[in-house]
């Protein structure tokens, strides 16, 4: 296997950085390591292909936005909206992330080892074979899965009891599902969200996701395969029905 391309990004602006990444991927480089990353936005923005990018440091906002295919692994925290409108590929964050993680994500996976901020998974959507997945190891703040139109959000809540304590879960959800370890107080549910039984079949469905997440972060999956979850789904696919009358 070829040597990875290593870039010291210290003091570098994101435009030349992204250009360098894109050119490298175009020339067939499969692995890129970015060192000393600090605040550069848009890393991997719109990037296609199947390269693997390792980010050492704290990237700026919109990491992997519109990304379609690559895998990007961050050793550090991420800021605002990693995985924004992401199409395909994987983001693995060995740390926490800011607000609006996986905003409008269309496909692929975002794995966050720590916590995420407000409005995680807002307006994630699915279409045919595209089904985005957001997994959070820690906890999440309010309005998780707001407007959610498809895909899966899984919150393991490691080190947090209960896993989620903030309000507005699935507010306006009209597609997809939110799975949270343990029980979720129904008063935390947003408008249009309902809690349903988490069945054996549901567990079967999320098992590969849990296993992959745990493998990525070297966590023992067993405790998460042998515990209770709450499943939150839309109470209707038509949240606006009944709101309007014709003139």
């Amino acid at each position: 296997m070829a040597e990875p391309l290593v870039i010291d990004t210290k003091g570098m602006h994101y435009t030349p950085l992204n250009r360098q990444i894109r050119e490298a991927v175009a020339s067939g480089v499969k692995e890129i390591v970015l060192n000393n990353v600090l605040g550069q936005r848009f890393i991997g923005n719109g990037l296609r292909g199947d390269a693997k990018i390792t980010v050492n440091g704290v990237p700026g906002g919109d990491l992997g936005m519109f990304m379609s295919g690559p895998e990007c692994e961050v050793f550090g925290d991420a800021e605002h909206a990693p995985g924004n409108t992401m199409d395909n590929g994987v983001l693995i964050i060995h740390g926490s992330a800011g607000d609006a993680v996986a905003h409008s994500m269309r496909g692929g996976k975002v794995f966050v080892e720590g916590n995420i901020g407000y409005r995680g998974g807002i307006h994630m959507k699915q279409y045919e074979c595209k089904r985005p997945i957001l997994v959070v190891g820690g906890t999440t703040h309010a309005f998780l899965g707001e407007y959610m139109a498809g895909g899966l959000i899984l919150v393991l809540g490691i080190g947090h009891e209960p896993a989620v304590q903030d309000r507005g879960i699935g507010s306006g959800i009209h597609g997809g599902e939110i799975v949270i370890r343990g029980d979720v107080d129904v008063k935390l549910l947003g408008v249009g969200a309902k809690k349903v039984d988490f069945t054996e079949e549901d567990l079967e469905n999320v098992t590969p996701v849990i296993e992959e997440f745990c493998e990525r972060f070297d966590i023992d999956p067993k405790p998460f395969l042998n515990t209770n979850y709450s499943k939150i789904v839309p109470s209707s696919a038509r949240p606006f029905a009944g709101k309007y009358t014709w003139e």
Partner: protein, 350 residues
Amino acid sequence: MCGIIGVIDRTMSRMDGSHIKRALSLMDERGSGEGAGYVAYGIYPDYADCYAIHVFFDNLLEPKTRVDAILKQWGRIVHQEEIPTYEQPGLKKEHIPWRYFFKPFTDLVVGSTNPDDDNVTNLVMAINTEVEGALVFSSGKNLGVFKASGWPEDVANFYRIEDYKGYIWLAHNRYPTNTSGWWGGAHPFNLLDWSVVHNGEITSYGTNRRYVEGQGYQCTMLTDTEVVAYLFDLLGRKHGLPSEMVVEALAPPFWDEIDEMPEKKEEFMKALRLTYGPALMNGPFAIVVATKDGIVGFTDRIKLRPLIVGENGSKLYISSEEAAIRTMDPDVDTIYMPRAGEPVIGRVVE
């Protein structure tokens, strides 16, 4: 969009301005090169008991004569000088920054528990509304605001802020929508001890402004942020609310949350919301406020702007971006995101 960062050393150990300059410059993406500013506490130890009045003069003729006269009428000018500045290619010097070290006469304001502060508040309001060509942009003791239109590094170099040493620093990188290019529109905003940096827009500005104007303040800066300084002055200084309570009044819990609180707390929050309803701030914001005793950071009630907190020993950092904190302090050991409306407080320990 704007970028903010604040730091306090709780032991009051003083830091020069070079680190915050780098941190703020890291967030250039959040600004537009039309405004940046810094405030530092503890920078004038030789005049610690004087109000340090920073003024932008359009010229040193009539405006200055009038300001001199007002100051002399209300107190004693202990010392005055032009604030040293250093020409920068990217920054057009629009005003002459000047500083007075001022001691108000204490017997001029009647019926006040805090005549010195009220005296200085009155003269700041008077100068800013009545004297054309003069703008007071900093009026606290042993602290100073340094701001201008330009990129953060240019503004910092213009004032050579690395020459100042403070135990609290706030800084702001501006992307103006209202008053572009006006030095007075740059942050931090300051009144007496209170300094404010703000990212976002206060949609309740009209309501908040009417409220503080009804309580004797005058909004002269043409922007929403100054009202925050006045709200803190009114609630914090005049009404004696501790900082946590001021934040609870400005970004209170929702009624459905209050309804669920234990009775005593519920009663308290209800009284707070009813008393200070017009002070409630709406719209997207992340704000850091400083006084000589500490800093407090908070966001709007539904967290529409980012705010990250970092800690390292005696230092507490609050910023729009984690990367900015790490630029200032690569060894920062705790990083976390506060909840919406949750006050993050760093107090000096004496």
